[in-house]
């Protein structure tokens, strides 16, 4: 019988499936769910006797997750040595443009966020960028972003080995079609209808006739998550680990 699971665990499983085959996964600041997904990917790969991906967490203190600093992180991504990364946005639009700067006319905007950080570079050079946002609403998923921190696609001739592959929200998984510059609904999470996704999404997207339901995390994944991954994620994200898994750092 399938065990019950938390909403966070479902999202971790969804992101983890998108990371298959990655050799080096980088995780940005304030990204505990993507970070847990990367560590679950590593645990799964290790289990089948493979070599799990290297996981780097920007800003982490522990030697295991540290990079040699920001310059190293960006240089290594520029060479193609980072396979997967995660980005988010205060606004994300239907062409996968992301806005981390603010709402209204720049620069004196009516809402101002922190800034674009590494997005305007990493979105171009990391082949598998997964967009992740814990709020699925028309406020966030807009027809057109007010400020393009980083564009979802680039015209021919612009160096762009990287870009978005998917958008994961609490309601569903969208995949991004680079050629058509559009999202397609790949699965809706258990209990979520297509109508609800449409109601709460401000941009147009494609949907097949019969949208499958997201596969819940299997028991084996949940065991790994609540064991090894919970201990590991408590290092960079102690508050998250305590809240979701009731876990303390492995070597605290």
């Amino acid at each position: 019988m399938a065990e019950s699971y938390r909403a966070e665990e479902l999202l971790i499983a969804v992101v983890c499936r998108l990371l298959e085959g990655s050799r080096h996964i980088a995780v940005g600041v304030s990204s505990p769910i993507p970070g847990s997904a990367a560590l679950l990917r590593r645990a799964l790969d290790d289990r089948i006797g493979g070599t799990g991906p290297k996981v780097s967490v920007i800003g982490a203190e522990s030697p295991e997750f540290r990079t040699d600093g920001g310059v190293d992180m960006f240089d290594c991504a520029g060479q193609g040595r980072v396979d997967a990364f995660f980005l988010s946005g205060g606004q994300i639009d239907g062409e996968a443009n992301i806005n981390l700067v603010g709402v209204g006319d720049y620069p004196r905007q009516k809402a101002r966020w922190g800034g674009s950080f590494g997005s305007a570079y990493l979105y171009f050079v990391v082949p598998r960028v997964i967009l992740f946002r814990e709020e699925h609403s028309r406020r966030v998923l807009v027809p057109k972003v007010d400020f393009v921190s980083a564009p979802g696609w680039s015209p021919a001739g612009v160096y762009r080995p990287g870009g978005p592959v998917a958008l994961v929200t609490p309601l569903c998984l969208f995949t991004f079609d680079k050629a058509r510059r559009r999202f397609a609904l790949a699965s809706r999470h258990p209990g979520v209808t297509l109508e609800r996704v449409r109601d709460e999404t401000g941009f147009d997207f494609d949907a097949p006739g019969n949208v499958p339901e997201t596969i819940p995390p299997q028991n084996e994944w949940l065991a790994l998550l609540r064991g090894r991954v919970a201990r590991e994620i408590a290092d960079p994200y102690p508050k998250f680990a305590a809240r979701v898994f009731g876990a303390a750092p492995a070597a605290a």
Partner: protein
């Protein structure tokens, strides 16, 4: 040379209004003791370069009215949330944001340390960062391999962005150690070397003075900023508080959370600042 230790205030005594100053992100040693000196001096109109992002140090300087322009990848207090003074100042127009992406700040300072006019950087094309950065230029890659570079074919130009060099007037650093010869040890925050190399002048507060010459130890010399680049040093134990110093002390999370709450209003920030300038913070009391 034997280092003459200065007072923290003396490190910034000659700094002119409108200067370009730069500091590294809070987790690489926030120069909070220097922030106190800058605000106490009443400096105005600074162009603050955050390498590559700003946090509490930047927010306090902005709130105190020292900054006219803030350049970098972003300003945020991380898990504590938005930087309240930064947000307020940008929305009101009190501060001009020069938004960019983190690797562009590193690239600009690397060009600065090399003494070259610019550094090319991938990415950025098609972003609104570029729309608002008239100083960034797009050129066609002049050394693209044959067959990929045909100026007649728009799709084959391989456009790339040039980031102008940044040479700050003054780099502000808080480091774990200095020696009597004026060398600074920055350890794993070795990117501070780029900052000091690029800046015309560098001043530092340090936790401690080391015995001997830091360059004599091969394990430490890789993390040394040579005295050649260092103008003056002052002792400021726990000078990064309420931010942390890797390996020495943790950030004072309660104090940062209290800052976020206080700085939610200009009046609240003023009261916080008065206590900060007086050195009367919970973290300092706890340290004493």
């Amino acid at each position: 040379m034997t280092l003459q230790l200065a007072s923290v205030d003396a490190l910034v005594a000659d700094l002119a209004d409108g200067a370009v100053v730069a500091a590294m992100k809070d987790t690489s040693g926030a120069p909070m003791a220097l922030a106190r000196a800058l605000i106490g001096k009443g400096v105005r109109g600074l162009h603050l370069v955050n390498m590559p992002t700003g946090g509490l140090f930047a927010d306090v300087l902005i709130g105190a009215g020292c900054v006219a322009t803030v350049e970098g990848g972003g300003v945020s207090l991380g898990e504590y949330g938005q930087a309240p003074c930064f947000v307020r100042a940008v929305k009101s127009g009190a501060v001009r944001p020069l938004d960019t992406t983190c690797p562009a700040v590193y690239a600009a300072l690397q060009a600065g340390e090399k003494g070259i006019p610019f550094m090319p950087l991938r990415g950025l094309i098609g972003s609104d960062i570029l729309t608002h950065r008239a100083d960034y230029k797009i050129v066609d890659n002049p050394i693209a391999p044959p067959g990929t570079h045909d100026p007649a074919d728009r799709a084959m130009r391989d456009p790339i962005v040039l980031i102008p060099a940044i040479r700050p007037d003054l780099a502000l650093i808080h480091a774990p150690l200095a020696d009597r010869d004026g060398n600074l040890w920055v350890g794993r925050d070795h990117e501070l070397r780029i900052l000091a190399h690029a800046a015309r002048h560098t001043v530092a507060t340090v936790e401690q003075i080391a015995a001997g010459n830091l360059n004599a130890d091969p394990l430490r010399s890789a993390g040394v900023i040579s005295a050649l680049y260092v103008d003056a040093v002052a002792l400021a134990p726990r000078g990064a508080l309420p931010c942390g110093m890797a390996g020495l002390y943790e950030a004072d999370g309660a104090a940062i959370a209290a800052y976020v709450q206080a700085a939610a209003t200009p009046e609240g920030f003023r009261a916080w600042l008065d206590a900060f300038l007086a050195g009367d913070t919970p973290a300092r009391r706890a340290a004493e």
